[in-house]
Symmetry: C2
Subunit: 305 residues, 2 copies
């Protein structure tokens, strides 16, 4: 079992990992802001919603002040990944690094900063951050993990088992790419359409009755993504259109993070989500005019903010 975990990044996903893992191992949190670390050291981390936890954690904005972990879960937004890894470079030599960023390519960025073994992750869980020390666990869906390069599968399994023991859902897969790409294609379509329309992920996204219904566009974007996956030799784990239809029928409409970013006039992850799909399409010479349009529009929206 894993004994010491460092969670890098205290956003929703990082807080959900830290708040649960503290019940089965020693957890440290590397934050971006010093005040955030101070609050966590004083109050601990509260989880409400799908589970209830009051977790003691050690936190700092300086990795030198934290114990050397066996596992570091890098749970920053994709945009903050390089900054976080620059702090870790040369440290945490015994750790396996777990990435859970949206999009593709987080593992390559980790590798640029050090020789750690890497585990690739995608997570479908979601929550709402109420304060620096309180996160609400909303969607109790799975985190999938897989080996990157020559990381042994046993290591992946051990990390997944620890996450499951902490009360979250996780699964170790021999090859993560089919799941990673399914989520990427789903996210590339749903997040960008939500950001541009202002709609949460609701039944408009799967409506295809009228010719101008939004589902046709979402379907077109997903079909472009599937063509790229096929050209890249990836057999998808789930069909992203079915993921979309199921999610829109779940009842309570989820607010995609890109919509939250746009409404808060923050930069979005468009370059790393839809953008990474467009770059893969270029590499494999697959035409993706709709996906390109979404990237240009969301970047235009950012420029207007």
């Amino acid at each position: 079992m894993v004994e010491r975990v460092c969670v890098v990044g205290g956003g929703v996903i990082g807080s959900l990992f830290a708040g649960h893992l503290a019940s089965v191992c020693e957890v440290s949190v590397l934050t971006r802001r010093r005040e955030h670390a101070t609050a966590l050291n004083a109050e601990g981390l509260r989880v409400s919603g799908k589970s209830e936890r009051q977790a003691p954690v050690v936190a700092s904005d300086d990795p030198r002040e934290l114990p050397d972990p066996d596992v570091a879960i890098v749970a920053t937004k994709a945009n903050d990944l390089r900054h976080a890894l620059a702090m870790l470079a040369g440290r945490y030599r015994e750790a396996t690094i777990v990435t859970v960023q949206n999009g593709l390519g987080a593992e390559e960025i980790v590798r640029e900063h050090g020789p750690w073994p890497i585990v690739s992750g995608v997570t479908f869980m979601s929550g709402t951050r109420h304060s620096d020390t309180h996160v609400e666990y909303i969607l109790d869906t799975e985190t999938w993990l897989g080996p990157y390069e020559d990381t042994p599968f046993e290591r992946v399994q051990e990390i997944a088992d620890t996450i499951v023991a902490s009360g979250l859902k996780a699964e170790a897969l021999p090859d993560l790419r089919p799941a990673q790409w399914s989520k990427l294609i789903f996210n590339a379509a749903v997040n960008s359409v939500a950001a541009l329309t202002g709609l949460p992920h609701d039944p408009h996204f799967s409506a295809e009755e009228e010719p101008t219904d939004l589902g046709h566009l979402v379907h077109g974007l997903i079909d472009e993504g599937k063509a790229v996956a096929q050209a890249a030799g990836i057999e998808l784990h789930d069909d992203p259109w079915e993921m979309n239809v199921l999610a829109t029928r779940r009842g309570s409409a989820h607010y995609p993070s890109m919509l939250e970013d746009v409404e808060a006039r923050r930069p979005t992850e468009i370059d790393l989500i839809t953008g990474s799909l467009v770059r893969e399409a270029e590499r494999h010479e697959v035409p993706v005019p709709l996906s390109r349009a979404m990237v240009a529009l969301v970047k235009g929206r950012e420029a207007a903010a």
Copy 2:
């Protein structure tokens, strides 16, 4: 020369026509709201900006209270056109009706309501409405007029001459469709991109240096529009891409009306602008995936409002 003009609709374009034409003929204004008519009867209509006018006008929300005109300029938004024409049906029997709506098909809607001679118009002028009785004239660009069905060209010329005599810019063209389509293709791209990004019509719309620059999308939309025009047998009056480039270099960025509508959470003219191009594309079996995407996104935005 024209002696009595009724301007139907007291928005920006209607107010600009009424405020100028009152210096060369008798002008009445048919408003949607009774308070608007009351204010115009009491205070007249003030124009500032590119010209200065203080125009006496007769106004009402009931056409029976207004003198029978020689010319009725229907300057409502395309969405309000049917409502306005239902009020005119059976009246103003001696009048020629001038349409200046965005998109295609306003003339057909007029014809459904009565046998008046019709003059087709497109206007490039713009302004800002400061109050019910004050409009600022901002872009002093032209209005183009052309005959519809068998309206004699002399009638078109006479109306254009009256508009010019009033201090506005106008031109009579034997066939308006090339100009109407140029403006439609330009508007279909620029208005929808502005509505979705929140950007005024600024240099982003013609930027094509980086692969994700917005100009590529605007260019793609315009190319779709040009393919539809070609299939419909229309030779364009101006190249819509050149119109776009010139306009973005003009210095002060124009706020397209669809962006204003979206920001005010009003319904937009998407169905009548980009939507009318998509319907023409269907008729001529021209693929227009980007234009379809814009219609679906703007309608999604309306649904979220």
